[in-house]
């Protein structure tokens, strides 16, 4: 289903959707773009680069209560499952790199053992993508990892900005629903619209980006150089924070902890929170043994997971080239640079 929306009617679309769902769109808050709830009658503008925080948070929130437990003294524990029951949500302004990352996250959370919390949210969230007319960041490299500025996977709708209007393509049943919900706002797309959209896409694809020449050589280089001292050199400046992983649209590591709200009688919550492989104690055994004791080992883990292990397990790159980890790393650790180093090292 391909339709046209006049730019000045975007707010009306959001308002219509807001009648039955929470609507989010990028807003410039504290000098950075963030997915922000659109209040009734609120403005929606899609003139952002990319948000700092990725779109994964809508289906994989940073804090999720898995269940509550309680136990009277001398009694048996009682567990109360707390599956998410949030309202439906529509998220505007999702870049194709974040959409493609959702496909990766789907593999992690729905294949093998199916995660009911993720699934419950995934069903209720619609991702409305916005094709990139040019790379939103100087660190974009989606083309190198099999993506593109107009990629559709993982999204429910893809919008492309044309002259005075948006080209709106519904990609899934959910996407169709949210277009049909405001059908009076749209007109049918004409061949001229489609060809203008295609020109925008082609122009976007020809914009220079950061580049990695051959991902399969990168994987080979990573495999061969697991024990290389180069990792310690690459990670020398790493400070072990969580900026790269928390901002990554396809990172999914988490922790599970019990948080007590009452000691006697016992009551509390078993809570899932984001965790990250760059924290020093991420893999530390209770005995004190830590398989990844150095920043070099932890950096190697992150890069290998993204560009090798996930590929070996699922046949697709886990990294979607959004560049956030490069932009926000406090000390300039750069996955593209590392990939290029490893690509060169593949031959040796």
């Amino acid at each position: 289903m391909e339709v046209i929306l006049k730019k000045d009617r975007l707010g009306e679309w959001a308002a219509k959707l807001g009648e039955g769902a929470d609507v989010f769109a990028p807003a410039f808050v504290e000098d950075c773009w963030a997915f922000t709830k659109v209040e009734p009658g609120g403005e929606v503008a899609l003139d952002h680069g990319n948000t700092v925080r990725p779109a994964k948070g809508f289906v994989f929130p940073q804090r999720e209560v898995l269940y509550r437990f309680s136990q009277d003294s001398g009694g048996a524990p009682r567990l109360t499952e707390t599956l998410p029951d949030d309202p439906r949500a529509v998220v505007f302004g999702v870049r194709p790199c974040d959409g493609r990352a959702m496909v990766r996250n789907d593999k992690v959370f729905t294949c093998g053992f199916a995660d009911p919390y993720y699934q419950a949210r995934r069903e209720r969230v619609a991702y409305v993508g916005l094709a990139c007319a040019e790379p939103p960041s100087p660190n974009c490299f989606c083309l190198s990892v099999g993506g593109s500025p107009d990629a559709e996977d993982g999204l429910d709708v893809l919008m492309t900005e044309l002259d005075g209007r948006y080209y709106v393509k519904a990609l899934t049943a959910k996407g169709k629903d949210i277009v049909v919900a405001a059908s009076s706002l749209f007109s049918e797309a004409q061949p001229a619209d489609r060809s203008e959209a295609e020109s925008v896409h082609a122009a976007a694809r020809s914009h220079p980006q950061r580049s990695i020449a051959a991902m399969d050589k990168v994987a080979e280089g990573l495999k061969r150089n697991f024990d290389s001292p180069e990792w310690d050199a690459l990670a020398r400046a790493c400070i072990g924070c969580g900026a790269c992983t928390y901002l990554c649209p396809s990172c999914h590591c988490f922790d599970i902890n019990d948080e007590i709200t009452s000691r006697s009688p016992l009551a509390g919550e078993r809570v899932r929170t984001w965790d990250n492989c760059q924290f020093p104690e991420f893999t530390m055994h209770t005995s004190g043994h830590n398989p990844r004791e150095t920043t070099g080992a932890r950096l190697r883990q992150r890069i290998c997971h993204k560009l090798l292990y996930f590929v070996e397990n699922h046949n697709i790159q886990q990294c979607t080239g959004c560049g956030r980890c490069i932009t926000h790393c406090p000390v300039g650790i750069d996955i593209v640079r590392i990939a290029n180093v490893m690509e060169e090292a593949a031959g040796q």
């Binding site: 000098d31 924070c241 809570v271 990250n276 406090p330």
Partner: protein
């Protein structure tokens, strides 16, 4: 005038003579406009060292990190580290010396003067360039920053893009150094000290409460602020429930009974506690390198928390951290005349 070649030559000489095991400096980065930390061990690599308005990092952090790295080595190289240090960086080094985390003979300080310049704040630069990403930024020596972006360049008044700490800086050169580059400047005329924090701290309680609650709500507890702070060198951090130093002699009881002062959950209460407790632990120790605020991915104005406490330290106790490695620490010393009207 700071002559870059002089710094490179000195760094090269220190490496060639074997006097130091590495030189901590800055080099260009593939990741963006800011320079990145360089660990130079080969004399010829000193050619890549740079010094300009993009050299924002506080390299004193690596005096701490390298020391920790060495603890794990069986036969560590005990030669000193040379470090390129701006005024603010050298004040950090002074506190590390004062607290005995490092010894004076473990560091060779290549002090550089900012000479009425300073470093840029990339948020401010973004605003000045209306979002066009900068590829280079440097002082033109005339009160402006020349910013280069894809497709052109422009000059922006320094006062618009310098970091807040530079605008408020009272001494933009190291007080302690082994080699000194540039001239000790005088007559900085940007802002008075504590200008930024006064804009917030002098407001009413409710307004300040809302201000900070709003910011702490956005925190993602990535711990970048703590990880980049040279003064946060504790192996086991009280406001991090996941880290726990476990040695062969640590008993099951010690692990079982370890108190989690703050839960893992990212929520307003835990976030506020994390930031406020960390700020308190830095009182009298923070030397305003501003890195905490720079590295925050969601732009929480963290520097204000610490400069608030430094303002109090100055007003109540005439104390300024980092000017003198021999001075006592604020928290663990007292003078007879110290105010005590808050003790009731």
């Amino acid at each position: 005038m700071v002559v870059m070649e002089d710094i490179r030559a000195r760094a090269k000489e220190l490496l060639e003579s074997g006097k130091v095991r590495a030189v901590l400096g800055y080099r260009r980065s593939s990741a963006g406009v800011l320079a990145e930390p360089a660990f130079v061990t080969a004399p010829e690599d000193t050619a890549a060292l740079v010094l300009d308005a993009t050299c924002v990092e506080n390299l004193a952090l690596y005096l701490v990190n390298e020391k920790k790295r060495q603890r794990a080595e069986k036969t560590p190289d005990t030669r000193p580290l040379a470090i390129v240090a701006k005024g603010c960086d050298s004040r950090t080094i002074n506190v590390l010396l004062q607290e005995n985390y490092i010894k004076r003979d473990e560091v060779v300080i290549l002090g550089v003067s900012c000479e009425n310049g300073g470093v840029i704040d990339t948020k401010k630069l973004n605003r000045a360039l209306r979002g066009k990403p900068a590829t280079a930024a440097s002082f033109d020596g005339n009160g402006s920053v020349k910013a280069v972006f894809t497709g052109g360049e422009t000059a922006v008044p320094a006062a618009e893009v310098l970091a807040d700490r530079c605008l408020e800086c009272t001494q933009a050169y190291p007080s302690v150094s082994d080699f000194f580059f540039g001239e000790k400047e005088s007559g900085r005329t940007y802002n008075r000290r504590f200008t930024a924090v006064s804009a917030v701290a002098d407001k009413g309680m409710e307004e300040r409460s809302d201000f900070w609650a709003g910011h702490f709500d956005r925190c993602i507890r990535c711990y970048a602020c703590r990880a980049v702070c040279p003064m946060c060198y504790c192996d086991e951090c009280v406001v991090d429930s996941t880290n726990c130093v476990v040695k062969a002699t640590t008993t099951a009881d010690e692990k079982a009974n370890r108190i989690r002062w703050i839960e893992r959950s990212v929520c307003p209460s835990e976030n506020a506690m994390y930031h406020l407790v960390r700020a308190m632990h830095l009182a009298g120790r923070c030397t305003d390198c501003g890195e905490c605020e720079r590295v925050c991915p969601v732009n929480i104005p963290l520097r204000l928390l610490n400069t608030m406490l430094e303002r109090e330290a100055l007003e109540m106790f005439e104390y300024q951290p980092g000017l003198d490695p021999e001075q006592p620490s604020l928290i663990s010393s007292f003078r007879d005349g110290d105010p005590n009207d808050f003790i009731r």
